[in-house]
């Protein structure tokens, strides 16, 4: 059964015990992203810290992949600056859409999402929270023009 390739133990752990779920009261930008074909939804808030990093909080509902991915996103991106956070998003996109080798230093448990790439319909589920973070961070003006 190939199913275990996608639903690795680590993914199911994040799904059952998500990290960082729950919205912060204070925020600079809030986004609501949905995957209308399957009903995944995430509300995500960001706020800038004094050191230039970004705090993230979220609440969501959806399939195991989107929920686990949000939990992993929190672990990897919370309190990074925009540049590093965006780099992590790009790594995930490269792994899922271009079959590039994952970098565990950047993606952490996110490398366990590699099996999702075999199921194109699920890639959107995995990307949903990360794309929501990027959108919120840009809306909050945290992307610095070079």
């Amino acid at each position: 059964m190939k199913l275990e390739n996608m639903y690795q133990e680590i993914i199911l752990d994040h799904y059952k015990r998500p990290h960082g779920k729950g919205l912060n009261e204070e925020f600079q930008a809030e986004v609501h992203h949905v995957n209308p074909t399957c009903g995944d939804e995430i509300t995500l808030r960001v706020s800038g810290n004094e050191d230039g990093t970004i705090s993230v909080s979220y609440d969501n509902q959806g399939c195991s992949i989107s929920q686990a991915s949000a939990s992993i996103m929190f672990d990897q991106i919370n309190n990074l600056n925009f540049e590093h956070g965006e780099g992590a998003v790009e790594h995930l996109v490269a792994m899922l859409q271009r079959a590039e080798d994952p970098n565990e230093d950047v993606l952490g448990d996110g490398i366990a999402l590699v099996g999702v790439a075999q199921y194109p319909a699920r890639v959107k589920c995995a990307l949903l929270p990360w794309m929501a973070w990027k959108d919120a961070a840009i809306q909050a003006g945290m992307k610095k023009e070079k």
């Binding site: 199913l3 074909t37 399957c38 009903g39 959806g62 195991s64």
Partner: protein, 426 residues
């Protein structure tokens, strides 16, 4: 005992010979989204392209004549399948376009009237004023909801809707929903998510009492049961070809002749005109008025072959066959702890779309486990988000049946649901 010879039917569908994930046989339970196609339909379409291909209603050559004959023969044959005349059947690209064609008849009549432009005789029925009402139901597919919301936004008409009971039926207790401001009642014959078959005679009676028009979205009924517009009492019937063994890219609008004649066109251009000058244009009579551009002749020929295929089986037998599988599916799902069926659990006035949720499991994950064992279902909101909201669910898993399914397929679904629960430990 099945009412259909499923083994013989399955032999007509080439796709059922292939295997899917893990070399499993394909258990296709997604015909509500699109049906598979038999050789007879594929051969008819191929024959058109190989031997008769030309742009219909144009050209002075033999192929153009043959193509036009084939196209118009298909129209007559498909029309007769629902008890209609050929002239009252309009081909569209899909059922969504067919519904938009009617909603835009209202919009275009209203706009042209406001600017005192020429309209066909009888078009008053389509001119809306602020405060007029469009009545839909809470169980509509987005295709029979969003066009009417848009029409209301553009005209100042008001959208009202018939709510749903906890059992998944229309709640017809509020009689004021049908009133003198109601201009059209647009509803589904069979809900694509709940499986509910609506009481059309009751709707017709209420709508007629206030002189409202009735549009019936029949995407989930024409493929699955006998539908006859000569006795149904509605004004418009819309459905798609690809859900009834036909090709993709063709839908149908049947309309009462006097109403089609009174409607301004939707999409404009070649083929649908009478006389064109730089100063203005007059339009062809229906159905051509609503068929701008070179039409989908090969798809019409394919759909005509699909109609022939279903006619030989007999629609009453098709309905009885699906009923058996619906019964087994509902019983099977009811026996599994934590499974909730969304839609009627009794078998009266119920079609073969069976949707369900499993406590603690998201439908996308259920669908993934089913797919692993070769069972193809649809998961998500089924283009019916308000239905999901009504029943407090984010999404659902849906099985739909057709002529090539049998009780083994039901069993594969039920086993798959058990497997999903086991895999995720719920």
């Amino acid at each position: 005992m099945s009412t259909l010879d499923v083994a013989a039917i399955r032999a007509d569908f080439p796709i059922l010979k292939r295997t899917v994930r893990n070399d499993r046989r394909l258990v296709y339970l997604d015909s509500g989204a699109t049906s598979q196609k038999p050789y007879q339909v594929l051969d008819a379409e191929r024959d058109f392209y190989e031997n008769h291909n030309a742009a219909v209603h144009r050209g002075a050559h033999l192929l153009a004549e043959e193509a036009t004959d084939a196209f118009e023969h298909a129209r007559a044959n498909i029309a007769s399948f629902i008890g209609a005349n050929a002239d009252d059947l309009v081909f569209t690209k899909n059922a969504t376009e067919a519904i938009n064609l009617v909603s835009y008849a209202f919009l275009n009549a209203t706009l042209k009237s406001a600017h005192k432009k020429a309209l066909p005789p009888g078009s008053e029925r389509f001119i809306l004023k602020v405060g007029d009402e469009i009545l839909v139901t809470e169980m509509e597919h987005h295709a029979n909801l969003v066009p009417w919301q848009e029409l209301c936004d553009k005209t100042g008409a008001v959208l009202r809707w018939i709510g749903l009971t906890d059992e998944g039926r229309l709640d017809l207790s509020d009689e004021t929903l049908f009133n003198e401001r109601t201009r059209i009642v647009a509803l589904t014959h069979q809900s694509n998510l709940l499986g509910t078959v609506n009481d059309i005679p009751a709707i017709v009676k209420s709508a007629r009492a206030v002189d409202a028009l009735i549009l019936l979205d029949s995407c989930q009924s024409v493929p699955h049961m006998s539908v006859d517009v000569s006795t149904l009492g509605v004004d418009f019937l819309t459905w798609s070809g690809h859900k009834m063994l036909g090709p993709l890219g063709i839908g149908c609008l049947w309309g009462r002749a006097d109403l089609l004649a009174a409607m301004p066109p939707f999409i404009t251009g070649g083929s649908m005109i009478e006389v064109v000058s730089m100063a203005g244009t007059t339009f062809a009579a229906p159905p051509k008025r609503f068929e701008a551009g070179v039409p989908m002749a090969a798809q019409a020929v394919g759909l005509s072959a699909a109609v022939d295929y279903l006619r030989v089986l007999g629609m009453d037998k098709v309905a009885a066959h699906e009923h058996e599988m619906t019964k087994a599916t509902i019983a099977g799902l009811q026996s599994i702890p934590g499974v909730r069926i969304i839609g009627p659990e009794d078998l009266v006035d119920r079609g073969s779309a069976v949707s369900f949720v499993i406590e603690g499991l998201h439908p996308h994950d259920v669908g993934q486990v089913l797919d692993e064992s070769g069972v193809a279902v649809r998961v998500g909101q089924h283009c019916a988000k308000p239905v999901c909201t009504r029943y407090g669910i984010a999404a659902a898993t849906r099985a739909t049946y057709y002529i090539y399914n049998d009780l083994d397929d039901v069993e594969a679904l039920i086993e798959g649901v058990h497997a999903a629960k086991k895999f995720f430990g719920v």
